[in-house]
Symmetry: C2
Subunit: 548 residues, 2 copies
């Protein structure tokens, strides 16, 4: 029996048209470091996206599904690229400006980027790499920065504003297949080559709906969202696309990501919402402690990208900012879970729920797979690798042999589910608690020790600034935990004090025997603890280990 | 370029699995008229839906896309059918129990319903029709009612609870194509044959997401929704499916739709939300005035199905109940617009927005088409017929020649948009104001007069209970408005008083010359003003007309 419904594709184009008309007066405010930030309405974004599409097609010859890359901060122009490039049928490739140079080069070549739109302030990063970026024919520069860095480069150089000037403010957007590629990100995996995830119009549209559902971010056009999470990091968690559905205003920090300007822009622009990784929140907290600011406009913040230490959540609670934990990854668009406590729980129980990764939305199916490949019950105790399935979850990576997608067996199950590489438990009511990365679990004498649990327990100590725990080889047990600790300034605690503190919360057999003080925990380009580096430092004998 | 996203279908099955696990403790409460209402968790609904699917397949032989009809009130069993039938791959057909008998017969035969699940209390309606319901092989009876009415009927009769008893509480739901038929409704059009709209799994899934977005109903699992709008009326506005995404609790009135029991269930069960057509809210208001009840739990109500008189909205405002206007139709699933004022408007301006039909969500594209087929601007003044397009909007009707869908030219544009038959204006920020049904507009001397505007102005008079305005033939002007008025008990106003009252709000040339008092406005089966009946009464000389 045939449905009689219209067959209307779910496309980024539809988001652009809707947001720039129905929510035409909503605004994107971009921080400039000057007295006045820059403001642009969604209606203007719509017109400028049309101008950008005209420029890309008519002057730069972008056609079909060619890749247009961005090397940009969070700003209004970057949002214009978010809409213009997919809506014209091409593929937006957001480049992670924190990647090591050799990875950036590898990614640009692998994606075959024909155009790079770059913020002028990032030319010192881009210019030296240009000779190696063989597929790139056009560089479009936006915003302040020294253009002379591009002198002599074997590419055509354009000014963003000059390209747009005088172009028509409407574009006859093509009707696209919703399964067509719209945007791509490479995972900044700590091991192996970066892997490309290619989002479809359909996946972006559905993910945008999910972001706007009551139990996700839950924002309306009365809100202003400070988007600290970079647009090159899983599309800033999908927020720039999503807000065009509901008219949520955006506050974009551009390159001003240090704690002091962030605190200033919160005080001055009064966002109601903010999104960032934990390290940003750590830094902001320290800044606010040193230089108090009025941040009372902030009602809710989403912390994602890494587990949020409970101490950090509690600190923001005290400031009247409700921290909401979320989990996701490049491969999940990224919204995988959001930690809103279920209805009817007490304040005390609510904290327990808030400290989990959160609850799966209807669009994300989840299962736990044990070491033997068996699927484990949602009983709150059985720990297994999390596997997920859904319309905004990757089922392959870009660019295997002959341009076909490829599906490494350690990343995807035989029946097509994404193997997240995260180990955790799920409660009967669908709340996920991640205990570790599968590769960071410490396999000690046939039992698993969670490195994250040890870290959180350590970071709850008032004199500990940060702590990372990694598995190190042990003759007797196979592996044992090594605790690496960053102490706060003026701290007096020694290892024995910390070990006794840990023992109050952690089973005795799980307590680390190996300890070291480090000046700072090494981080990946997106701010996660880079445990690979610590393991290597240990293996190379570079750490001063105290064992007891 | 291929997207690397998983190709996961959007299905009702997915809603069922999600709601019955992640939101397993949310509840459906069904009013029974006894001391205690009946309560069932979403987890139990999940198990019983599996049992129902087993029964339908194994005992009644339901296969493929056969139709399983329901003739039921709003209750937990009806929700079980909402999930079991589509999830097993069959098609749910909700029968409108208020339709005239001959239309019900026509619809059952047209849809080829093989099974009817019926509430026992509705057997007096169904039993006499059975000899004419030739496709029907099985009747499944649920809830109290006299079974002997079915004695001698040429169908197999089953007890709902007996069918389910002992069946497995899990079902190996098939993986379905998201474009497959899931459910169908017939429009209760006031002219011509009823027209079947066939919803797909995709359209129901996407509509459910929209219902749960912040700018639609905006509910969470902390809410309880009293669903007065019948499940046979556009799937109760999609709410029973939608709540399985977010765990919103439901309060179902079953057959107790009179103002007194509704007031009682609000006081006792404390819903935070309710959904119904204006006539229900009129009745409830009169009941609350006569017999005050504590309804302070009610925070928000959606009024749809017909335009809400401003006086009604203001009356509920005074009771602390925020009325939110919504517009839709069977062909739009039905969510077409929701009237939430945009951010930043004053209280006074907010009322202006709340009295519109509302703003289009991202999934609904809209345009206005003028008398000459031209598309009109969204300028807040150009009036045209509203046409809509989107993934949960019908593009055809069920059952043309050879079972193909058919698309009458007066219902669908050549490029596939639904012609709603509603005339209205759209503001630059996307708020729709409907002024009339295209067929109810009064064409007077080359100008259009809105019958709805006249009605609202009339109903604002304190002595007017209801008023309907229809076009009647006029030698000089072509058509002129006829005002039919229902006065409140003890009213003393005469036509001249009412006419002077109207003249304060309406241009003089639009004032009706023809007036009549009627005891009540005739209504359609879903509670809308039935102007066809009034026009016929006028043509037949049955109305006592005062002309001046």
């Amino acid at each position: 029996m045939l449905s009689t419904m219209q067959d209307v594709p779910l496309t980024v184009t539809r988001l652009l048209k809707h947001g720039s008309t129905v929510h035409g007066t909503s605004r994107i405010t971009t921080w400039t470091g000057e007295d006045e930030p820059h403001r642009r309405t969604f209606a203007e974004i719509g017109e400028r996206s049309a101008q950008l599409a005209h420029a890309l097609r008519d002057e730069l010859g972008v056609a079909d599904d060619q890749r247009v890359a961005t090397l940009m901060w969070n700003n209004a122009e970057h949002v214009e690229a978010y809409f213009a490039v997919p809506a014209m049928g091409a593929v937006l490739h957001t480049l992670n400006l924190r990647l090591p140079a050799e990875q950036l080069v590898w990614i640009v070549r692998h994606a075959a980027d024909r155009v790079i739109i770059v913020n002028g302030s990032l030319l010192p990063l881009l210019a030296p790499l240009l000779p190696q970026l063989t597929p790139v024919e056009h560089i479009v520069v936006s915003g302040p920065g020294d253009r002379s860095l591009l002198d002599g480069a074997d590419v055509q150089v354009h000014e963003y504003e000059e390209l747009l000037a005088g172009k028509p403010t409407a574009y006859d957007w093509p009707e696209l297949d919703e399964r067509q590629a719209a945007a791509m990100c490479y995972t900044s995996g700590t091991t192996g080559e970066p892997k490309g995830v290619v989002y479809s119009h359909r996946s972006i549209y559905l993910h945008s709906m999910q972001v706007n559902m009551t139990q996700s971010m839950g924002l309306t056009d009365e809100d202003t969202g400070l988007i600290v999470v970079p647009q090159f990091h899983v599309n800033a968690w999908g927020l720039p696309h999503a807000v065009f559905m509901t008219g949520v205003n955006l506050l974009m920090p551009d390159r001003f990501l240090q704690p002091a300007p962030l605190a200033e822009m919160i005080e001055r622009e009064r966002p109601t919402y903010a999104a960032a990784v934990p390290t940003i929140w750590q830094g902001l907290l320290a800044e606010l402690t040193a230089n108090p600011r009025d941040i009372e406009s902030l009602d809710q913040v989403t912390i994602g990208g890494a587990a949020c230490p409970p101490s950090l959540m509690e600190a923001y609670d005290k400031l009247g900012v409700r921290v909401c934990h979320a989990w996701g990854m490049t491969e999940t668009s990224p919204l995988g879970t959001v930690a809103r406590p279920p209805a009817g729980v007490s304040e005390a129980d609510a904290m327990g729920y808030r400290l989990t990764q959160g609850r799966f939305p209807a669009g994300v199916e989840a299962r736990l797979t044990g070491p033997g490949g068996e699927h484990l019950p949602w009983d709150g105790t059985s720990a297994g690798e999390l596997e997920v399935r859904g319309p905004w979850i990757a089922g392959a990576y870009y660019g295997g042999a002959d341009g076909e997608p490829f599906r490494p067996a350690d990343k995807f199950s035989e029946d097509g589910w994404l193997k997240t590489g995260d180990v955790g438990i799920i409660s009967p009511d669908g709340f996920l608690t991640l205990t570790d990365r599968a590769k960071d679990v410490i396999k000690s004498g046939g039992e698993w020790i969670s490195s994250v649990e040890l870290e959180n327990a350590l970071m709850a100590h008032p004199e500990v600034a940060e702590a990372a725990v990694v598995a190190v080889p042990d003759e007797k047990w196979g592996e044992r935990p090594l605790a690496t600790v960053v102490l706060k300034e003026g701290a007096t605690a020694d290892f024995e004090v910390l070990r006794d503190f840990l023992a109050e919360h952690i089973a005795r057999w799980q307590l680390p025997e190996r300890w070291t003080i480090i000046p700072t925990v090494p981080k990946t380009s997106v701010g996660k603890f880079d445990k690979k580096v610590i393991r290597k430092q240990y293996a190379d004998g570079e750490l001063d280990i105290k064992k007891f």
